[in-house]
Amino acid sequence: MSALLAAAIVVTLGLYSLAMTLAVVRLLRGPQAQDRVLALDFLYINAMLIMLVLGIRFSSGMYFVAALLIALFGFVGSAALAKFLLRGELIE
């Protein structure tokens, strides 16, 4: 791990953190419920990408599994929230 790649990884993590902060602002401010769901969707995508970047940083394959799990459960959560907004209850 050269200093170049380490610095780039730190900067990338900072950029993702900034993006997540902006999404949290939208999550807290969002005028309607669908805005909040959209911000949550964006948040889990960013968390998954941060996991992949950490996997490069520590050269470990475990982070990839964590990213895969976050992607799967994030999809389930987003789909459930959208379905709830659409119909008012999940299982009819």
Partner: protein, 129 residues
């Protein structure tokens, strides 16, 4: 973990990572600044498509240089996102449309007259029937 990754490969990985970060930040700024929900749905796609592609490609290149065989498994994330993201996006757009119609907001009307009604009001009506 003493395998030396060539410097130019590290440069490529660093560039891809930085590109992914900048793209995600652009999507977040768009998510924060656009004024309408349906406009706001667009910028996060930047993070789920191009930013994720950059990061998974960087991960794939890094682990291919670290281990002998080609490490293509990070691209699995891309396939997963390509399947799941449109589903949530369409569901969320339909939900926003139905909620807007229920609240009689300024949203497009149904295309056909015989389109089955959606939304919470229609769900309650169909449950009572």
């Amino acid at each position: 973990m003493n395998v030396a990754v060539p410097l130019w490969i590290q440069g490529v990985v660093a560039l891809l990572l930085l590109g992914g970060g900048v793209l995600a930040l652009t999507g977040a700024i768009g998510l924060l600044r656009y004024g309408d929900f349906f406009r706001r749905m667009h910028p996060p796609a930047l993070a789920t498509t191009l930013s994720a592609a950059c990061v998974t490609l960087a991960s794939s290149i890094h682990f291919s240089a670290l281990e002998q065989p080609f490490a293509l498994y990070p691209l699995l994330i891309n396939a997963l996102l390509a399947i799941t993201t449109p589903v949530t996006t369409v569901l969320l757009a339909r939900a926003a449309l139905a909620r807007g119609r229920d609240a009689s907001a300024d949203v497009p009307p149904p295309l056909a007259a015989n389109e089955p009604p959606s939304g919470r009001r229609a769900a309650v009506a169909s449950r009572q029937r």
